[in-house]
């Protein structure tokens, strides 16, 4: 035992690990490369660029904020790669500045010229408007914008106003016409979020033109401060620490506590300030001092602030030829339209691959259950749901129809807290039994249980998924979902909901492994089993597809079994703290990342097990938060046909030569070398296959 532990120590060397934040920035860079990829239609490239911007916002609000908290608290503990929080922040700042530069180079040098060529002019500065356009902009300002603006000036009697997180603002230096011209005051106005940021201008010469709202405001800002001269105006944007600190143990009412914390989010510490390049030094000084932001956290932007606006531009009508045709998911062959879904499930397990296959059966499953007189109970976990969710409506309907409906709404789903509070209240009003999960743990598992009283007894129908019960994201995220009515799964599903309702865990589980108590151990057992097989010269291989891999125990286990000869292929879309190509440590491990039109989101695991191969799917990534601080599920896919289907997904992604990038020993990623290989785009292939299978 002692020797085993010592051996393991060797795999824990921080040099063998990559910092998760830097790895994430690498991922965002891969998304950015999609915006730079000329093979992608122009508007898709805009979308990718927009995604990198919103990704970065979230990264700052949560990850950077958390590191900043650690630094402020004097926390010195090093991460798995041996970096202190301060070192991480320094490195993040450097890499992010480079990334932001690349974002705007892409925007200014590649995309803007192409947009003009394609008949869309984005007027970057209001000074460049034609007379006719300028008149239109001024009229638009007076009629539409002016009424919703709240200009704010700062002087000795008026303190610096609250600048809302992620809001776009225009800062100005102004001076009183009646006073000394050298005396300037700071004033600002928030660009109203209620108005579209992309404003269509009158067309001319076959060219469509748009201008951003902040430019129109800047042009007319004098109308807001009538007795002042405008010295200068520049847009700025801030990012605040948005990490919620919830003392669940002490909170009497979790829902109220979260509502309180969300309100506090607007007052979080400023962790990033974006300003336009060339900003007036005096104005910058005011912002810097008033917002208490340090130099390395200021980003000088060569273009419009907040590129998430490009998603709005993507939505402009008339440019369909510059976009990919809308994706229409194929039907699930095992479930014919109008068929009784329970009967379909009774015929055998069904594995669905979204978004290639439609998510509608999952919605119909709840809908049918809500009105089926034999259904006794419906239980479901909800993490993120869409606006106007049909699932919520079906659950409400079920409760109104007298079914026992138990819904676990995870109030702590980051940035969906407010949404989820709304759902939770709505469901409660409808008579559902709403639970908020276990103290200290986020419930991230995706599971639905329908209990039905049938002729030959109680039968339980279960849906287990890797993705949220969100019909909107199910069109964009790749996920797998399993329908089954096998007793062993039903028993476990019942036990999961009992646990989530505060009852004790079952004596043992039949099929499911549940985090945080058992899941990590299960994964490690499965990994080490492959190591034992390899050690005895038997067949051993691991293929794992996850969004992120940064759990040290899992990585160390992978290193250990890799040394025993296990061939390991990892498909990790995002963060990967494992390093490939370390001599004597990870030579048998390959890591690839697929970034495509659909967000790779499914978690699928294959273990060769000396020929008796096993395939699992899970809601969990290989991250400490998933394995230790969340309620997650791992479920086996046992039906031979479905196992092959799941394996085919992994096989297809390993075959990808178009959207896959391979991790290099230095941590960078390179697109697959296509020489001598067929061009294979896994997402397109899955789309095709799903259509052919219908």
């Amino acid at each position: 035992m002692k020797q085993e532990a010592t051996e393991r120590e060797t795999f824990l060397n921080p040099e063998y690990y990559r910092n998760r934040e830097l790895s994430w920035l690498q991922f965002n860079r891969r998304v950015l490369l999609e915006a730079r990829d000329k093979h992608n239609p122009l508007f898709e490239r805009l979308k990718f660029l927009s995604i990198t911007a919103s990704n970065l916002d979230e990264f700052f609000m949560v990850r950077v904020a958390s590191l900043q908290d650690m630094v402020n608290a004097g926390y010195q503990k090093r991460d798995i790669a041996g970096m202190s929080p301060k070192e991480q922040l320094e490195k993040i700042s450097k890499v992010t500045h480079e990334l932001v530069q690349l974002q705007y180079r892409t925007y200014n040098r590649s995309l803007i010229p192409l947009l003009i060529q394609s008949g869309l002019q984005v007027v970057g500065r209001h000074e460049d408007l034609t007379k006719e356009q300028a008149d239109y902009a001024d009229r638009y300002f007076e009629e539409t914008v002016y009424p919703v603006l709240t200009p704010m000036a700062v002087d000795s009697s008026r303190p610096f106003p609250l600048v809302r997180n992620k809001s776009l603002n225009i800062g100005a230096l102004i001076n009183d016409k009646k006073k000394n011209k050298k005396e300037v005051e700071f004033a600002m106005v928030q660009v109203p979020g209620v108005l579209p940021r992309v404003v269509l201008l009158p067309a001319g010469n076959g060219q469509r033109s748009v201008i951003l709202l902040e430019e129109i405001i800047e042009r007319n800002i004098g109308k807001l401060f009538l007795n002042y001269n405008i010295v200068c105006t520049y847009p700025f944007r801030i990012m605040r620490n948005a990490d919620l600190t919830i003392e669940e143990d002490e909170a009497e009412d979790l829902l109220k506590e979260i509502e309180k914390q969300i309100r506090k989010r607007q007052w979080g510490q400023v962790i990033r300030l974006e300003v336009e390049e060339g900003i007036d030094k005096k104005l910058l000084k005011v912002l810097k001092e008033s917002l208490e932001v340090s130099g390395e956290n200021i980003y000088f932007i060569d273009g419009p602030l907040d590129l998430t606006v490009l998603m709005k531009m993507y939505g402009l009508e008339g440019f369909d030829h510059l976009k990919k045709p809308p994706h229409v998911p194929a039907p699930v062959p095992e479930i014919k339209e109008g068929e009784d879904i329970f009967e379909c499930i009774r015929r055998g397990d069904i594995l669905m691959h979204h978004p290639y296959q439609t998510f509608t059966p999952v919605v119909n499953f709840i809908r049918q259950a809500s009105s089926d007189e034999d259904v006794l109970a419906i239980k479901q976990t909800l993490y993120r749901v869409s606006g106007n969710s049909p699932i919520i409506s079906a659950l409400e309907q079920a409760a109104e129809n007298g079914k026992q409906v138990t819904v676990l709404v995870e109030l702590k789903a980051r940035f969906d807290e407010e949404n989820n509070i709304v759902w939770a209240k709505r469901l409660e009003q409808a008579g559902c039994h709403v639970i908020y999960g276990l103290v200290g743990l986020k419930t991230h598992s995706k599971i639905t249980l329908v209990v039905r009283k049938e002729e030959d007894g109680i039968r339980r129908y279960v849906h287990l998924g890797t993705g949220n019960y969100n019909d909107a994201t199910a069109k964009l995220y790749t996920d797998v979902g399993l329908f089954t009515c096998k007793e062993a799964y039903g028993e476990d599903a019942t036990a999961v909901f009992n646990m989530l309702s505060g009852y004790s865990e079952p004596v043992s589980w039949n099929k499911l492994s549940v985090a945080p108590q058992w899941l990590k151990r299960r994964f490690l057992q499965l990994i080490y089993r492959e190591g034992e097989h390899a050690g005895k010269g038997r067949k051993a291989r691991i293929i794992a597809k996850v969004n992120s891999l940064c759990d040290r125990d899992v990585i160390a286990a992978l290193y250990e079994v890799s040394c025993k000869g296990v061939e390991i292929d990892l498909i990790v879309r995002g963060i990967c703290s494992l390093k490939t190509g370390i001599p004597g440590i990870s030579e048998n491990i390959r890591v690839r990342s697929i970034v495509g039109d659909f967000l790779e989101h499914s978690r699928i695991f294959y273990f060769e097990n000396n020929g008796s191969w096993e395939v699992y799917a899970s809601s969990a990534d290989w991250m400490p938060r998933n394995l230790e601080r969340r309620v997650e599920l791992l479920f086996p896919i046992e039906d031979q046909r479905l196992k092959r289907k799941a394996y085919h997904i992994l096989e297809g992604e390993l075959r990808d030569t178009i959207k896959a990038s391979l991790m290099q020993p230095d941590g960078s990623y390179e697109k697959v070398d296509r020489r001598g290989k067929e061009a294979y785009h896994s997402q397109e292939a899955f789309t095709r296959e799903a259509r052919e299978e219908r």
């Binding site: 035992m1 109970a377 007894g457 019942t494 009992n498 505060g502 079952p506 004596v507 039949n510 151990r521």
Partner: protein, 515 residues
Amino acid sequence: MGIRIFAAIDVGSFELTCRIFEYTAKNGMKAIDTLRYQLDLGNDTFTMGKIGKDKLDELCSVLLSFRDAMRSYRVDTYRACGTSAIRETENTMILLDQITQRTGIKIEVLSNSEQRFLNYKAAASKGQEFRKILEKKTAILDIGGGSIQISLFHEDTLTSTQNIGLGVLRLRELLERFAGNREKHERLLTEAIDGELISFQRLYLKNKNVEHMVLIDDYISPRMVRLQKQKMQGMSMTYQQFCENGEYFRNNGRVGREWLPEIYEEGADQVFIASLLIRRCMKLMGAKVLWTPGVTLCDGIGYEYGQKKGLLEVGHDFEQDILACALQISKRYQGSPSQEETLETVCLLIFDSMKKIHGLNKRERLLLRLSAILHDCGKYISIANMAECSYQIVLSTEMIGLSHREREMVANIIRYHQKPFGYYEEVGAAASLDREAYMKIAKLTAILKLGSALDGGQGRKFEDVRVVRKENLLMITVHTNEDMTRERGLFERQADFFEEVYSIRPLLRQKKTVY
């Protein structure tokens, strides 16, 4: 048969359980849901004598959630049972009333012997495997919070059952009084356990060994079941294997690779104590194999419901176990098996012929049989004061499967069959028996008195006996050529009481055989 849904609730010493069962023709009895909630009621009861307000509130809140679950499954009926933590509170009645008022759930307090019998039935729900094990010399070890119950079987017959105050929670209390490490605690516990077990071994096993030990508990069984699933084993384990897995139980399922992240440790002390108890029991009783059916009290409640409602095929005669237990007590007090058999036969003939009159059921018939078996056990202590001694023996000797109330009834039947019957104010008030129980005692005592008159204490004088009821007469005909003068005298005396109870006059007729 359609589907029947039944809920069994166990309000235990450290856990509340609600198990929902489904009964179908195809699958028999099947548990479809189990809700378990840890609540250490035992700690309050065993240390303060009462369940505190906070615990009561929590208990009621959990019971309400059980009620919701029962509603969602649309259960046909339920049975909620409380065990030692409820039984041993000083204010049991008030507590039960509070619970009923607040939750609508009525809790039935099980006596120790009823609880053990249900546990035993739970093991029996495993069917063939259980029956096979009982064929050999077997001990059922039922570990509870307050005490353990050891029941010995040989060739499918219960030979002895004893309750010993070595419950896990009680032993934990003992440990709490002594500071020290695990090794020291293990030494202390071993001394305490061995002290009791050696006496048991000497008295009831006569220093012989058992082959199998059947384990029923809430501490080790769940871990055994987990281990069985992990290692794909059956439900049996040798003594050696159990000892080898000691580490596993001590560490709550953690084996090897200690550095692996582990499930939180819950009730580690109880597991440690239970594990030691099993090891010592197996060692001292020489058991080679431990069989863990992984059943709980709720399974027993569910099984008994199915059995009573005729929803299950029952392969084992549980009534026989209760009778075997009585016979064993009788043997200990040097009763005469042939005399008891005669008395039992006559009494049952009278009981059966009076069915339409007395309105008593199968269970009361069993009480009569037990009374017949134990009717004179007190003479072992004092012939002169046999009635009182018999009464005291029965009252203080547990009989597996009988509730305390039933045992009190048997004790009174035995007591009054030998002395003038006491009226309600005397019998009922003294024994805190209700009117219904009192009337049953009266009816069964009348039968036992009549039956023992025929016996006369001289051994069986007749070859055959017939009992026929005709209107207001009960004709008892004995076939014998012996002199029945003494019996006639006794019979007449007892007949008066019988008539008082039933308004039916018994008549004794003798038929002689002419050779």
